[in-house]
């Protein structure tokens, strides 16, 4: 069994209804493992950007990119070199915090550069941006207070420097 690798795939897709359905359908139809998927608008209103984090061996990851590229609504799909990319995720996390615990939580938040965005007598909502590892560590450390609920955006990625997904297209 080849080793499983986690890959970040960036895709430019038509900004039309149903496109998310097509991409999600492709993953379920071919039994690909999807870790996270985020969709956002881009500088061009006709296009959206999907960032997909997927797990598989080399052959599967190659298939994922090729099968994505086959969809008519996918204008460009490529696996990003994570070392040459900026990866960020945003999390909102609501935890049980009694008033006497607040200073301790705030100091933890400060270390992670998280913001307190809501406060109630028995709970707090914190906001943090960072790469996946940082977010995971932050969740872990807050666990013992009791997590009421949390929401993560999934990873968003841009290549560092001048590189862009469109430029990749032109180089072909």
């Amino acid at each position: 069994m080849e080793e499983l690798k986690t890959a970040v795939i960036s895709a430019l897709v038509s900004n039309k209804p149903g496109v998310l359905n097509r991409v999600a359908g492709l993953f379920s139809k071919r039994s690909y493992n999807i870790e996270s998927l985020s969709v956002c608008t881009t500088e061009d209103e006709r296009l959206s950007r999907m960032t997909i984090v997927a797990k598989g061996d080399e052959a599967i990851l190659e298939q994922i990119v090729k099968q994505l590229a086959k969809l008519i609504d996918v204008k460009k799909a490529l696996e990003l070199d994570t070392d040459a990319s900026l990866m960020r995720e945003l999390i909102l996390i609501k935890i049980k915090v009694l008033p006497h615990q607040r200073p301790e939580v705030e100091s933890t938040a400060n270390i992670y550069k998280a913001k307190t965005v809501d406060l109630s007598p028995d709970s707090m909502v914190l906001e943090l941006t960072g790469d996946e590892g940082k977010i995971d560590a932050f969740i872990n450390i807050l666990k013992h207070y009791g997590i009421i609920e949390l929401a993560r955006t999934g990873v968003m990625v841009l290549q560092r420097g001048d590189a862009s997904i469109k430029a990749n297209d032109e180089n072909e």
Binding site: G18, N21, R22, G25, K29, A59, E62, Q63, K66, Q67, A69, K70, L71, I72, D73
Partner: protein, 550 residues
């Protein structure tokens, strides 16, 4: 111009001469415009939308043009699904146009409303729901372009009723020629290098050769490289069966001599084929001693099922002549002789039953030689692929990928409409009962479709598996149906015939093939006839079964 009229004008623009279909409440406008365009486009009404989809598919397979099918919303649209999936699995260019409820009623579970775009998403190359008449013409053009380009496939366009009725200016536009994906020089060089080093190469090609129209290029390439040629079922006819380099069909029920030769070869050159499980068996152990070259227009097929040493992502019509130019002409008399010996050592099994399926097929070959043959799915399909000699592309219409029982009659009708020629349908008694209603369609249009029912009173292929792998527990495969084929033929407007022993084959077939319209020949073969050889599903060549003890 009204939306419905725009659709028809777009069809004319694309050179469409025939529409298969079935009317209904939400395509009244489309059929009204078809009626007005009757001098330019022929309508073929089937008995069921599934038959219409298979007919449009058969039309496309036989002619190389895009098949077009119309159906109404809801059940009309869902009845197309098996036909669209069949075309999808075999890469057949098809445009399906469905009506739907008006945009304002969408999403309200209106009468006969179904999200057919959602339903067909995984079985189309692409699909559309048109919500603005201004986008209708462009969508229709795009649908045809997508259906025909690269690896062909079905496209569905769902048009709500109000869009068919809305007005919009229309400017006709000639379709642009579709480019062929050219091969990269470096990829061809790597492939040529492997060919140069090979001593015992074999070509394994598939339906991609036929869709690319690259049969002549394949012959020239094979001759220059002096390579024996094996075909997938979808490729049959893409390389002439009478050519000295042709070995026959590869795979689960392929020629045993080919399987043996593949065990000895050192290079497999795969052209427009996809290592389907019915060819590759255990894909992880597909003749590991041989290097592989894979050329396909669909990049996603490369290294999908079997990993190749050299891959070329290109249209075969571009790649094959350029690859041929890069290789030294070779002579491999010893390897050719070895392959011929292996073929001769494993002659195809011939039935000794009162009516031998092989004898019927050989007689059909002699009397209908060169003519188009459609099949359904199962034993009769494999016997046809093994026995009939396909000399030219587009002569075999068969559901290779989806394995759709009930495909054949619709497909034969479509092919007869497309070519104006006689089409023979070889089917089984199981498959025939699935969509035999379409015999009526053949009668209405007086189409020369000669149906041979290989009637063995069992669902033969499943029966064979039960015999081999399920302890002869024949669950739901023994039919014992009271169908009287002679009366049935007469009732549905066809001429009926019967073959009860081998001596009758030639005489009956001659008569049946001379009938102007549809003919139905009930061939009473035995229940215990098997398809051999057989490599059990998921197994390698070593598991090949050559005999079955009844």
């Amino acid at each position: 111009m009204k939306g419905a009229q725009i659709v028809i004008e777009c069809l004319v623009e694309q050179g469409v001469d025939t529409v298969f279909g079935y009317p209904g409440g939400y395509v009244l406008d489309l059929f009204d415009e078809l009626y007005k365009a009757s001098g330019r486009i022929r309508q073929i009404l089937t008995c069921h939308e599934q038959g219409a989809a298979h007919a449009a598919d058969g039309y496309a397979r036989a002619s190389g043009k895009v098949g077009v099918v119309f159906a109404t919303s809801g059940p009309g649209a869902t009845n197309l699904v098996t036909g669209i999936a069949t075309a999808y699995m075999d890469s057949v260019p098809l445009v399906a146009v469905t009506g739907n409820v008006s945009v304002a009623s969408l999403g309200r579970d209106s009468f006969q409303e179904i999200d057919i775009a959602g339903v067909t998403m995984p079985i189309t190359k692409h699909n559309y729901i048109v919500k603005d008449v201004a986008e209708l013409a462009e969508t229709m053009r795009e649908a045809f372009r997508i259906a025909r380009s690269g690896r062909p496939g079905p496209v569905l366009v769902d048009i709500p009723k109000n869009i068919q009725q809305d007005d919009c200016p229309f400017t006709p536009r000639k379709p642009e020629p579709i480019g062929r994906k050219p091969a990269r020089e470096g990829e061809l060089d790597a492939a040529a290098d492997l060919i140069g080093k090979a001593e015992r190469p074999i070509i394994y090609y598939g339906g991609g050769v036929i869709s690319a129209g690259a049969s002549a290029e394949l012959v020239a390439f094979a001759e220059k490289a002096d390579m024996p040629v094996a075909s997938s079922i979808m490729g049959l006819g893409g390389f002439p069966a009478s050519h000295p380099l042709f070995m026959g069909m590869i795979g689960m029920h392929g020629h045993a001599g080919i399987t043996k030769a593949l065990l000895e070869c050192d290079l497999i050159v795969t052209l427009g084929a996809r290592f389907s499980d019915r060819v590759a068996g255990d894909r992880k152990r597909f003749f590991p001693q041989a290097k592989k070259i894979h050329i396909d227009v669909d990049d996603a097929e490369l290294n999908k099922n079997v990993e190749s040493s050299a891959s070329v992502n290109a249209d075969l019509k571009d790649a094959l002549p350029r690859l041929a130019a890069k290789i030294q002409g070779a002579e491999r008399p010893e390897w050719r002789k070895r392959c011929a010996d292996l073929l001769a050592a494993h002659p195809p099994k011939e039935s000794r039953a009162d009516v031998s399926p092989q004898a019927v097929l050989k007689a059909l070959n002699a009397l209908h030689g060169g003519g188009i043959v459609a099949t359904d799915v199962g034993q009769h399909q494999m016997w046809t692929a093994q026995t009939y000699r396909f000399e030219k592309p587009r002569a075999l219409l068969t559901s290779g990928g989806l394995g759709t029982m009930g495909f054949g009659l619709g497909a034969a009708i479509g092919a007869a409409v497309a070519t104006g020629e006689r089409v023979a349908l070889v089917t089984g008694d199981g498959c025939f009962h699935m969509n035999m209603n379409e015999l009526v369609t053949a009668a209405v249009y007086n189409l020369p479709v000669t149906t041979l029912v290989f009637n063995n009173n069992v669902l033969g292929m499943v029966y064979q598996w039960q015999k081999l792998f399920y302890g002869k527990r024949f669950s739901s495969t023994v039919l014992n149906r009271p169908t009287d084929y002679m009366k049935l033929a007469a009732a549905l407007g066809a001429k009926g015939f019967e073959i009860k022993k081998n001596a009758e084959i030639e005489g009956v077939l001659k008569k049946a093939l001379a009938v102007k319209g549809p003919a139905l020949v009930n061939c009473l073969i035995g229940s215990e006839e098997s398809v051999l050889p057989m490599i059990p599903a998921g197994k390698g060549a070593e598991a090949m079964i050559l005999e079955i003890d009844n």
